[in-house]
């Protein structure tokens, strides 16, 4: 047997088999079949393309989005979580303060450059929601506070307008907007709540905003110039440049008390109220608790060298007082007038107490630090 014999036999067998596959198919049927197949192929290609684009659309932002958590390496051991809140590695904090607010249920961070409030889930230490607070060109957010079960954002316009937005924490939406009389906010504003009204400090005096009527009233005689506000003993307390703290009657809006702070430390950095006591933080890091309405100093706590000479902010809630300086956070037990913890930090910019922790926004690194309040 040669190869040619095998080839001839194979050719013969193959031709017979080909004849047996059936009659020559009707070209019209072939054409229709090919048409359907081409349509199916094109549909599959289109579906695959759409699916790929959809996956890329969903996946790319996740790839470019920074990690929600930041390494705790190099941070004080009492920092239990570091949450990434700055999209470009930092928060725009120029003339914006406070940047973080907290109450018993939630924590909010103001991302001023994106005109967004980030709702933090304190149970997971993650950004749970993003709420837009932009009011249009020319408007800039100036600060955020958590009062009365809501978050409040103050925005000012270059034309001199000011607006307060109420964010409903349950629905994570802006539920009310209050237009304020034209005011200047070159100094960091402060906001407190008492008797159904919001009290807002401005360069030209304190504004009282009735939440029910949405009316805002200027109180030019109370808390002028770099005033910090606190609520204690049923009154609103406003610090002044002169080293005094004025007590404002919430009913009349008039100054009814004035506490002299002493000539040795005239400049007040911040005030905070907790129950019947008023805490006064002065330049140089001197922290005092004064009784109300007498104004007697009940406790004096010199904060450490790490605190620096220029305190930044102080907040008090639920018997915990937190004060930040350029390099440190101090947590004070307000019940026993004792410093509970000193936490070294890199660049704190804003502090809040709530949801079982002390929260410090580091705008330079774009992170929100969670410090155990019982540290």
């Amino acid at each position: 047997v040669t190869l040619d014999d095998s080839g001839r036999r194979a050719a013969s067998g193959l031709r017979r088999a080909a004849e047996r596959i059936g009659p020559v198919p009707d070209p019209a049927v072939v054409r229709r079949r090919r048409w359907r197949r081409a349509l199916a192929r094109n549909a599959l290609t289109l579906a695959a393309t759409v699916l790929t684009v959809a996956l890329a659309w969903q996946g790319l932002p996740a790839l470019t989005r920074p990690s929600p958590h930041v390494s705790l390496r190099g941070l004080d051991s009492r920092v239990v979580a570091a949450i990434n809140v700055g999209e470009r590695g930092r928060l725009d904090a120029d003339n914006v303060t406070p940047l973080v607010a907290a109450d018993a249920h939630g924590v909010w961070v103001l991302d001023a450059s994106n005109r967004t409030v980030l709702a933090i889930d304190p149970a997971r230490n993650l950004v749970a929601n993003r709420i837009g607070v932009g009011l249009g060109p020319g408007w800039e957010p100036k600060g955020i506070w958590a009062l009365g079960g809501a978050a409040w954002v103050l925005s000012v316009s270059k034309a001199g307008g000011a607006t307060m937005q109420r964010i409903d924490t349950a629905s994570a939406t802006v539920s009310a907007t209050y237009k304020l009389p034209g005011s200047s906010f070159r100094s960091p504003p402060d906001l407190v709540s008492l008797d159904g009204s919001l009290w807002l400090s401005s360069d030209s005096g304190t504004l009282r905003i009735d939440q029910r009527s949405a009316r805002a009233q200027a109180l030019p005689d109370a808390g002028t110039g770099k005033a910090r506000l606190a609520v204690a003993a049923g009154r609103v307390w406003a610090s002044s440049d002169l080293g005094t703290v004025e007590g404002i009657d919430p009913g009349s809006g008039k100054v009814v008390d004035r506490i002299g702070h002493g000539p040795e430390s005239p400049s007040i950095s911040d005030v905070a109220g907790d129950g019947g006591s008023l805490w006064i933080l002065s330049r140089g890091g001197a922290l005092k608790r004064v009784a109300l309405p007498s104004g007697q100093v009940r406790a004096s706590l010199p904060l450490g060298d790490d605190f620096g000479t220029n305190p930044i902010a102080m907040v008090a809630a639920g018997g915990t007082l937190a004060a930040i300086g350029p390099k440190a956070l101090y947590i004070v037990d307000a019940f026993v007038d004792q410093v509970r913890a000193e936490v070294r930090l890199n660049a704190p910019g804003s502090v809040a107490v709530g949801a079982g922790a002390v929260w410090v926004a580091d705008p330079y690194h774009g992170v929100l630090l969670r410090i155990d309040a019982a540290a």
């Binding site: 040669t2 014999d5 095998s6 031709r15």
Partner: protein
């Protein structure tokens, strides 16, 4: 038949290129229908020799005939339109080896398959399997030589290469084939 080729464009529209022998000027082109009827089974057999699947072979042959029908005003006047169709099948089979089997298998599940009523004889299966195991160009030349019974000049026309190249492919292919089948090579063609 008139509707043939009106469908969407397919990869087979990448028509064979190269020189094909032209008919003398006085020759009228054969009607496509007659050409299709006469050549269909032979082209399917050639495609089967290259790919080893009746379903894919029919698919390739139909693609090639559709393409020829679209260009019948150019293909019909050729001296051997069958060479044009076989070159289209050769090209399609080469690309089908690379990409077409997965598609064929998928469609196979949805389409009624027409298999030959009786299986191929065992020695035919062995021969074709050995042909397909050759390098692609050798397999094409050997398949055209044995199954289509074409001389080397016409094989060169189908494959688009020179006669000498076809002879080299045939020489190497036959030698390898004889070794694999365990038979004598026989006299040189």
């Amino acid at each position: 038949v008139r509707a043939l080729g009106d469908g969407p464009r397919t990869p087979v529209d990448e028509a064979p290129t190269g020189e094909f022998a032209r008919s003398p000027a006085f020759r009228l082109p054969e009607p496509f229908e007659a050409f299709y009827e006469r050549e269909y089974h032979a082209v399917v057999a050639y495609a089967y020799a290259l790919c080893g699947s009746w379903w894919v072979a029919e698919d390739l042959a139909q693609e090639a005939f559709l393409s020829a029908h679209r260009r019948w005003d150019q293909v019909g006047p050729l001296q051997r339109p069958g060479a044009w169709v076989r070159r289209a099948v050769t090209n399609l089979a080469a690309s089908a080896v690379r990409r077409g089997f997965s598609e064929a298998r998928a469609v196979l599940r949805l389409t009624s398959r027409r298999e030959p009523p009786e299986p191929l004889p065992g020695d035919t299966v062995d021969f074709l399997r050995a042909v397909r195991s050759l390098p692609r160009r050798q397999a094409q030349a050997v398949a055209l030589f044995y199954l289509e019974d074409l001389p080397s000049a016409q094989i060169a026309e189908v494959l688009g290469c020179s006669d000498a190249t076809v002879r080299v492919h045939l020489h190497n292919g036959r030698r390898a084939l004889a070794k694999r089948l365990g038979v004598r090579e026989g006299p040189r063609p």
